[in-house]
């Protein structure tokens, strides 16, 4: 394997962190959701890298499971966004402050 494991891990960390920054700085709910997908992909990359490195297939099974969860999360998350948009005419999460009364 010509590319060392560490590079893959570093790449995964960068993608994950980009996702984190996206969640923190963006106010558009859809983009926040996309950032979450980025984080999941970063994690997936790590899983596959280790799986290949260790010649252990379980890692790829986890990737499969993570994708399923991501699909479910995207479906529910987008449904929530649709509903919020209907009620508030906006996808700005700063409009959603009902956690504090």
């Amino acid at each position: 394997m010509p590319v060392p494991l560490g590079y893959y891990l570093g790449l995964a960390a960068i993608i994950f962190t980009v996702g984190v920054i996206g969640v923190l700085v963006r106010r558009n709910a859809i983009i926040i959701l996309m950032s979450i997908e980025l984080m999941l992909n970063g994690a997936n990359l790590t899983l596959v890298a280790f799986s290949v490195h260790l010649q252990e297939l379980s890692g790829q099974v986890f990737v499969f499971l993570v994708m399923t969860v991501a699909a479910a999360e995207a479906a529910v998350g987008l449904a929530i966004i649709v509903m919020i948009f209907r009620n508030r005419e906006s996808v700005n999460v700063d409009n959603l402050n009902i956690m504090k009364w």
Binding site: V20, V23, L24, R27, V93, D94, L96, N97, I98, M99, K100
Partner: protein, 639 residues
């Protein structure tokens, strides 16, 4: 029937529960039936118990009935159990009988009161408590009855609680009683510590062995117990609640003064006679307190213008006689007087109630007069009561009071001074009672025209109990005709088993001649009092005013009841109030409230600070999350 003695208690309790819980739904007739019926049944059972007891031989007249164990803790055992002996049998008879008559009277007296049901449920509870007190065979159970009686007196004195004076009087009665009850409770504890039991029978049997004659233990126990009796039976210095207790409905006063409550102290002292006999100092204290109270209260009674207050001071004075009797060891005479007093004092109070009923609540005897023609039944029955209390020969009070005065002189613990206190009190008693009678019923009417028109005889419901009580007030004394007059003094013989060796200890040692002389003297004293009252208030009606002006200072002093209430207020109430205010203003407000509020403020301050982190925006929370991740990773990195 002896085995069913608990029925005596059950009926009033049931009456209380039925009327108290469901009475608001009942019709008048049913309430009356439950209230009077329960006490009536209780009286019948008492009568049965009494007759059954009479059938037994005098030595065997001692029966204990255990209902169920109550408190069992280590060596401390108490059961809900009753003691029937001549003393308690006589007491339940008097209590339930007089209470029954008062119940019937009340149905007439209270007929248009909005608190009708409440009144009767309290009345039943009162009767129950007193019967419990009397029947208890141990000190602890007696204490329950003792406290319950205090509670009921509070409830009934403050029955018209909308009136501030009534509510205050209720509180006063309760608090003053509490002082005495505290002594009583301490006495019970001390008894348990010394005897290891709270049951009467072993205590009384073992008293001579366990206690040293005149020892500190005996004196301490009896003085503490006597403190309780002083509170409950309204003796100096704790008598102040009784005159104020007049704020309650008049039949309640009758109940408190005659059947229940105040007699509890006498009963307790008599019940524990063997203990008291072990402590001559305590006996002397009892006798002196009794004698002084008898004279002192009678002197206040001389000047009062409120019909019920006169009677109240008269009760205090008569209770003083009973303690005087107990103090000189004549417990039988004390209980005898308790019984006759129950009859005539209930009668007098009910008559006063009848007068008030007729005169729309008028209490001032200076504004009465000439009521004889308006209310003949009340007049004649009142007259019987007056004759009885004044100690006119042939009426019940004569036998019992004379017995006490004679014993105060003749018994081993007796003394001439004690006799003098009693005799002087008797003179005053005769005077103030006849003053009351003359001012109320005789002479020219001083009523306002409206009242004059209104004055009428009370309904049958009220007069019938009066007549029954009047008969009892007349003949009640014939159970105790002294040997000297050819009687057998049966009541004291009957009570003898309850007092055991007591009566022997105070055997009289004077010849019949002295006794006869003393009797004649006391009769003369009584007649003298009556004559004085007659001259003052019938013949020369201007005389009292002249005398009052001449001895103005003494008159004012007595008229204001020696300023005792004011002195108590200044010496006890105000300092306590001052202390309470200090506690309130400083300790409570600054220290306790301050620390509690300060803590709350601190929490609020911190909360206010932390609140700023809680923006409600999920992104901000996510930021915190990431900060945590970075810090934790940093920690592992630097480690």
């Amino acid at each position: 029937m002896l085995d069913k003695v608990w029925l005596v208690l059950l009926f009033p309790l049931l009456g209380f529960l039925l009327n108290g819980l469901f009475g608001w739904k009942f019709k008048r007739g049913l309430i009356n039936l439950i209230a009077c019926g329960s006490v009536g049944l209780s009286f019948l059972v008492s009568l049965g118990v009494f007759l059954d007891l009479l059938k037994l031989a005098p030595e065997a007249r001692h029966f204990e009935k255990v209902l169920f164990p109550w408190v069992v803790s280590g060596s401390f055992k108490t059961a809900f159990s009753f003691l029937v002996d001549p003393l308690s049998a006589l007491m339940i008879l008097v209590v339930s009988g007089v209470a029954f008559l008062i119940h019937i009277y009340s149905t007439g007296y209270m007929h248009d009161d909005p608190g009708y049901v409440r009144y009767f449920s309290y009345l039943n509870l009162f009767t129950f408590s007193m019967l419990l007190l009397v029947l208890a065979d141990n000190l602890l159970l007696m204490y329950i009855g003792w406290e319950a009686v205090g509670l009921c007196s509070y409830l009934l004195i403050g029955f018209w609680y909308e009136k501030k004076s009534a509510a205050d009087a209720g509180k006063k009665a309760f608090i003053v009683n509490r002082i005495g009850d505290f002594g009583f409770a301490l006495g019970i504890m001390l008894t348990f510590v010394i005897f290891g039991t709270v049951y009467f029978t072993p205590i009384l049997e073992r008293a001579p062995e366990v206690l040293q004659y005149g020892g500190a233990a005996a004196t301490a126990i009896t003085l503490l117990l006597f403190l309780g009796a002083v509170g409950k039976s309204a003796q100096i210095p704790l008598y102040v609640w009784l005159p104020d207790a007049m704020e309650g409905p008049t039949p309640v006063s009758a109940l408190i003064h005659a059947a229940t409550m105040v007699t509890a102290g006498i009963y307790m002292v008599a019940r524990l006679s063997a203990l008291f006999l072990m402590a001559p100092v305590s006996m002397l204290v009892v006798a002196i307190v009794g004698g002084v109270t008898a004279l002192y209260a009678a002197s206040i009674g001389l000047m009062q213008n409120d019909i019920k207050r006169v009677l109240a001071y008269s009760t205090i004075s008569q209770l003083g006689y009973m303690f005087l009797a107990c103090g000189v060891g004549a417990f039988g005479a004390g209980i005898f007087h308790l019984m006759t007093h129950a009859f005539f004092k209930a009668l007098l109070f009910l008559c006063a109630g009848s007068v008030m009923h007729a005169l729309a609540g008028e209490l001032n005897i200076q504004k009465m007069g000439g009521l004889k023609k308006h209310m003949p039944v009340t007049y004649w029955t009142f007259l019987m009561g007056t004759l009885a209390i004044a100690g006119i020969p042939g009426f019940s009070g004569f036998f019992s009071k004379d017995e006490i005065i004679w014993k105060a002189f003749s018994s081993a613990q007796g003394h001439f001074l004690l006799w003098f206190l009693g005799a002087a009190g008797a003179l005053m008693t005769a005077f103030y009672m006849f003053r009351l009678l003359f001012l109320t019923f005789h002479g020219k009417s001083r009523l306002t025209p409206e009242l004059e028109k209104r004055a009428h005889e009370s309904p049958n419901k009220m007069t019938v109990p009066l007549i029954i009580l009047a008969v009892l007030a007349v003949i009640g004394g014939y159970v105790g005709i002294p040997h000297l007059l050819g009687g057998g003094n049966r009541i004291e013989k009957f009570l003898e088993p309850s007092f055991g060796q007591v009566s022997k200890a105070v055997e009289t040692h004077h010849s019949g001649g002295v006794e006869l002389l003393m009797m004649i003297i006391s009769v003369l004293i009584a007649l003298g009092g009556v004559y004085l009252a007659y001259t003052f208030y019938i013949k020369k009606t201007e005389l009292p005013k002249k005398l009052a002006e001449r001895y103005r200072s003494i008159y004012t002093l007595i008229y204001n009841k020696y300023y005792v209430d004011e002195i108590y207020n200044a010496v006890i109430v105000q300092p306590l109030k001052f202390f309470a205010i200090i506690c309130w203003r400083f300790f409570d407000v600054i220290v306790i409230d301050g620390s509690a509020n300060g803590l709350a403020k601190l929490v609020g301050l911190i909360g206010n600070l932390i609140r700023r982190f809680e923006t409600g925006y999920v992104r901000n929370y996510a930021l915190g999350f990431v900060v945590g991740v970075v810090i934790i990773l940093g920690y592992f990195m630097l480690r």
